[in-house]
Symmetry: none
């Protein structure tokens, strides 16, 4: 298949539409009618069948094909696909996003959703960017080798702590989480060298968590802090500090995004630990997955 008699440009960098309007004058009258339709509304043209487009341009299908070849396409289907792609790219991004700001009073749900999702996603991305792999590595190593792991957290961070505990447990690590300070303190007192204590606090100022971490450290356990603020009090009692990067604006949206960022960090540590002993972790995951199998209803298969 060589011979491209007319022009040229098997590759038209500027965009197909631009390319077409560029060589518009060099086309025959009937082809020009087609071209004009296409340029005017590429998305619409992409939707039409060749017969349809030919009729709209008051010409025959043959001319449309000739037009396709003239602009460097193999045939009509290819043109269609390219047009669809082109039209899609051209759509302006939704923008108008409230970037990290608070939700305006009169906001409708769509705006709320866009704002929250945007901030959440950004918190996750930025957290990943600033996470220090070296520190993570050390933490992973400590956890992988630990005799016991205690995870502390209060309030919203408590959920994260609990989640982390559950994850570690699922891959066969001995991990605990205590919703109650007293119990947590007791547990921390029983930690020793080779154990790990993880304290999670968005603000880094939750006294309960700090206190427990302090206790754990005093007993010789390695302490890890996960907070959004690298200079907050909790970092003073931690051997390893991992930070999230939720730019908080109001306490509300800040707490929301930071929670996701914390979870992301937790997941990274989890996968890191699991990767240390792939075989064993996989096995453990399979076994635990199987355990809840009987609590699942048939597959999702179903037809409407």
């Amino acid at each position: 298949m060589a011979k491209s008699p007319k022009i040229s440009a098997s590759h038209e960098p500027g965009g197909l539409i631009v390319h077409i309007s560029g060589l518009l004058p060099s086309l025959s009258p009937a082809e020009q009618r087609v071209a004009r339709l296409v340029v005017a509304d590429p998305a619409d043209a992409a939707r039409r069948t060749i017969t349809d487009l030919a009729t709209a341009a008051e010409t025959s299908e043959a001319t449309v094909i000739r037009f396709c070849r003239s602009v460097g396409m193999d045939g009509y289907p290819q043109l269609r696909i390219r047009l669809a792609a082109e039209a899609a790219r051209r759509v302006e991004p939704p923008d108008a996003r409230v970037v990290g700001g608070d939700i305006p009073p009169g906001a409708d749900l769509a705006q709320i959703i866009a704002t929250i999702a945007f901030n959440d996603a950004r918190a996750v991305e930025e957290t990943a960017e600033q996470l220090d792999p070296a520190v993570c590595e050390q933490v992973v190593e400590a956890i992988a080798a630990a005799g016991r792991i205690d995870v502390y957290g209060a309030g919203a961070s408590g959920f994260v702590a609990s989640d982390f505990q559950q994850k570690l447990h699922r891959i066969g690590r001995t991990a605990f989480y205590f919703p109650d300070v007293h119990t947590a303190l007791t547990s921390a007192a029983l930690l020793g060298r080779g154990d790990v204590a993880v304290g999670i606090s968005h603000t880094g100022t939750t006294s309960d968590v700090i206190e427990v971490l302090e206790q754990a450290r005093a007993r010789g356990a390695a302490t890890v802090a996960l907070t959004n603020f690298p200079r907050s009090p909790i970092t003073e009692v931690a051997d390893f500090v991992l930070t999230t990067a939720a730019r908080e604006t109001t306490y509300r949206s800040g707490a929301m995004a930071s929670r996701l960022a914390q979870l992301t960090v937790v997941d990274c540590l989890f996968v890191g630990v699991a990767a240390r002993n792939r075989a064993r972790a996989r096995k453990a995951l399979e076994v635990t997955a199987e355990a809840v199998q009987s609590h699942r209803v048939g597959s999702a298969r179903r037809r409407a």
Copy 2:
């Protein structure tokens, strides 16, 4: 509010690919093979002819057509066009990031972090894109007006359920979460018209949650399902269905990203409800924040 018995399907604003991956488990095996090809490389699929694609998926053209219909398209050409458009819009992931794939065996921490964060962020964004604000609005309305709200969830989704409960509680809504099925069932039995039951399940097949939601519905409560799979069993017992859009590959990474997506949805609902009565919600938040103030040590704010 009027009966909107079952929403779903015909609206997939978030993006075709996302929509397809959500539907994946509800497709027949042969259709799934097609779906996987399409999701893996939309641009490539758009280039193929139907026969070609059928061959690649080791099935017949008929199945490809059936697949098109299953995901809400008229026929193959329409699918092709949509795929091309979709692929064009999608910004190619910067580099060798494992896109929704598993973590490669030899990965180092930096890679793990990048992969997880990328998938997490994408799940959040795509979830937001495909969330139907209208359905959210209805749910928000129901929750805002509810006498009582029960939130159900098991395993990882349990954390999310619990988080939602806590949030609602903080803005003065009467909300409950029960980690235990029996208690949950009892509670559901006591729900009535004007109450709301929210069931959270990533797979949509958790029988415990389905059962409880069913009970709640039988008692006249409005039922809400939050799942990743729009055709899973849980959606059959829900008046309102909200979906997340974590493209799951393995159960591990899927469960991780989906949790974040669920939280994002929960946050949206929460803010929506709070926005209904700004003054009261703000007041409640301030009061509750104050309540834990004594458990904080000096400010975290020492510098940025």
